[in-house]
């Protein structure tokens, strides 16, 4: 969480300083949820398709920070080699597909990854997971994907960050149900609702869902109530978020809540956290500096081929 926040703050500065082209999309305020998911999965076994506010989950799942800085800064050495940017990155063969911008589409992709494992007899004890926002639950792709996963009884965890706004559109313009957890019943899948600002509660709910999926109880929906503490992207000041919502419990910073919970439980001291913060800053500076030293892609060396087999274009 701390590493992701530190990295994302730096990415925001780089964007505002004109060093990152395109866009920067942050997960500020959603780190507890995303990290809980990433930490509940096992890299090398499970599959995880992160969405746009999942830096914390990516880090917890084991993504190299250089993948993030290289992709944002357009290094040719990043996993996307300058062909795609920012959060549109992944390493599909390491269980992390690279998201496309069309929301909801990863639900069926992750399901397909699980079906492949099932056909190869490798599914036992495996979980696939993906994240989505409240707005993306309005897509047909989300519906088709989750329904199909339910029919196939796949070990899938779909995490919904109900962060109150899809870009600027409030949730009451996206759906008419009180809680998105109600949808779990309709799909015939398990579900749990958590306070996404509460690290301990979120982690407990997430582990319950991941364990249920891992034990063969089919798809699980995790619905987290929280507030996005940043704009949709760094170009957006989120002025549409009412002050009373920001001042409510939903508007509290999960990072601060998490820090006090860790200290209260005696897992770390405030000094420890301060050390972690400094370590995170150093790690981020190193990853940014490395990516900045590297060349971008060369249009003259680009093969401009969209198929792997030659002669198919």
């Amino acid at each position: 969480m701390l590493t992701a926040r530190t990295l994302e703050n730096k990415l925001s500065s780089l964007y505002k300083g004109g060093k990152i082209v395109g866009g920067v999309y942050l997960g500020t305020g959603q780190e507890a949820l995303s990290a809980s998911l990433g930490a509940s999965l096992i890299k090398g076994r499970d599959c995880f398709s992160p969405l746009i506010r999942d830096q914390a989950g990516r880090t917890a799942f084991g993504e190299d920070m250089l993948d993030a800085t290289r992709t944002h800064l357009g290094s040719a050495r990043g996993p996307m080699r300058g062909r795609d940017g920012n959060i549109h990155r992944g390493r599909p063969h390491q269980g992390m597909p690279a998201m496309i911008s069309h929301l909801g589409t990863a639900v069926s992709v992750i399901s397909g990854m699980l079906i492949a494992k099932r056909m190869k007899g490798e599914l036992d004890g495996i979980v696939g997971a993906t994240s989505i926002g409240d707005g993306a639950t309005s897509t047909g792709s989300f519906h088709e994907g989750l329904n199909m996963a339910a029919v196939e009884n796949l070990p899938l965890v779909v995490v919904i960050a109900d962060n109150q706004f899809a870009y600027s559109t409030p949730r009451n313009r996206q759906f008419a149900c009180e809680s998105l957890l109600e949808r779990a019943v309709g799909y015939g899948v398990g579900g749990v609702e958590v306070d996404g600002t509460d690290l301990k509660a979120t982690l407990a709910g997430m582990q319950q869902a991941v364990t249920s999926a891992r034990q063969g109880f089919g798809p699980q929906l995790v619905v987290a109530r929280l507030l996005r503490l940043c704009g949709h992207g760094e170009h957006d000041d989120a002025s549409y978020v009412p002050q009373e919502l920001r001042d409510s419990l939903m508007g509290r910073d999960c990072l601060e809540v998490g820090a006090s919970q860790i200290i209260e439980d005696g897992l770390a001291t405030a000094e420890d956290i301060e050390i972690w913060r400094k370590e995170a800053v150093e790690e981020v500076q190193e990853a940014v500096a490395t990516a900045q030293r590297e060349r971008g892609p060369d249009p003259y060396e680009e093969d401009w081929r969209a198929t792997s087999v030659e002669g198919m274009q």
């Binding site: 795609d84 069926s108 397909g112 087999v309």
Partner: protein, 321 residues
């Protein structure tokens, strides 16, 4: 003993399933029911979990296939009708089509698209989809016209590491028969000279190959020798074979069953004009279906798509230019 076009598709899938354990089938009603056109009849019994019935969720069907392909499988997805692939358009062009370029990881999926018109099928069970998918990078678009091509190109498509839109024409399913399933072995990516001639070239594909041959037969009675080129795949488009034919005849008619705005026939004409302008003795012409939805009534349907009569008429126009 004769083999139909749909038999060829059935046989190709049967062999693929037997030869390669990473091949599986996904589609609506393809399990015990054997598919709307019986292209998967009997497979559920032999291959069990590798023949999966899908919910009516074309978007999820393609998304699932992409995910399975990432993890080493070679899915064949049956769209019940090519028309319904519009629901899966996003997953096809944005997920499957972009994947190799973005990540370096190829997506070996084959999407079987029962396309084209049959009498009485109406606006939503008759469409041609090759032009829209060929427009997008990253997709291979195959359009077999013969029994042996249906068999061989389907096998090649599934063995190819890239996503393939396999356009199989419904009109040919049971109407088209051949003595043998084996053809000349011409590989995917090569067009075929279906009929040799010297006065004009018709470049076409899929069911229109047969309509073009009928038109050529009629004009042969008057002494005109019409060359017919079957593209076999519209992407890749074998422009060399097309140009070689135009070099012989000097006249080009690009013929297709799709809608007239843009599309494969426009692409053929534009490439011939750009790369072989000096070969042309007359302006190249195009003939397509009409620019309306595909009508239901058999009489309207038959007049909506090119027919031997309308092709003859167009060829006369071309020969008189």
């Amino acid at each position: 003993m004769s083999v139909t076009y749909i038999d060829a598709i059935h046989q190709a899938q049967l062999e693929l399933l037997r030869e390669d354990k990473t091949v599986f089938l996904y589609g609506q009603d393809i399990g015990d029911f054997g598919g709307a056109f019986k292209a998967t009849k009997g497979f559920k019994e032999e291959f069990g979990p590798r023949v999966l019935d899908a919910p009516i969720s074309e978007d999820a069907m393609i998304g699932m296939a992409v995910g399975a392909a990432i993890n080493g499988m070679r899915p064949i997805v049956e769209m019940q009708f090519a028309d319904f692939s519009s629901v899966a358009f996003n997953q096809l062009v944005n997920q499957a089509g972009t994947h190799y370029y973005r990540t370096g990881i190829p997506i070996p999926i084959t999407v079987r698209m029962p396309c084209g018109g049959t009498p009485g099928s109406g606006p939503f069970h008759s469409q041609m989809v090759e032009s829209i998918y060929a427009h997008y990078p990253g997709l291979v678009v195959v359009t077999p016209a013969t029994v042996s091509d249906a068999y061989q190109l389907l096998k090649e498509s599934v063995q190819l590491d890239d996503p393939v839109i396999f356009c199989e024409h419904k009109f040919l399913y049971r109407w088209l028969k051949s003595a043998s399933i084996k053809g000349d072995g011409l590989p995917l990516g090569k067009a075929r000279l279906t009929r040799a001639g010297k006065h004009a070239t018709v470049v076409t594909y899929s069911a229109m190959v047969h309509e073009a041959v009928r038109a050529a037969d009629r004009l042969a009675e008057e002494g005109w020798e019409i060359e017919v080129v079957d593209l076999r795949s519209v992407k890749p488009l074998d422009i060399d074979t097309v140009l070689a034919s135009v070099a012989r005849t000097g006249r080009l008619l690009a013929l297709g069953e799709g809608f007239p705005w843009g599309g494969v026939t426009a692409e053929v004409v534009s490439r011939v004009v750009a790369e072989g302008f000096h070969l042309l003795d007359a302006p190249p012409l195009r003939l397509n279906a009409k620019d309306t939805p595909i009508p239901y009534h058999p009489d309207l349907w038959a007049a909506h798509r090119p027919t031997p009569e309308s092709i003859v008429e167009k060829l006369r126009e071309l020969l008189n230019l």
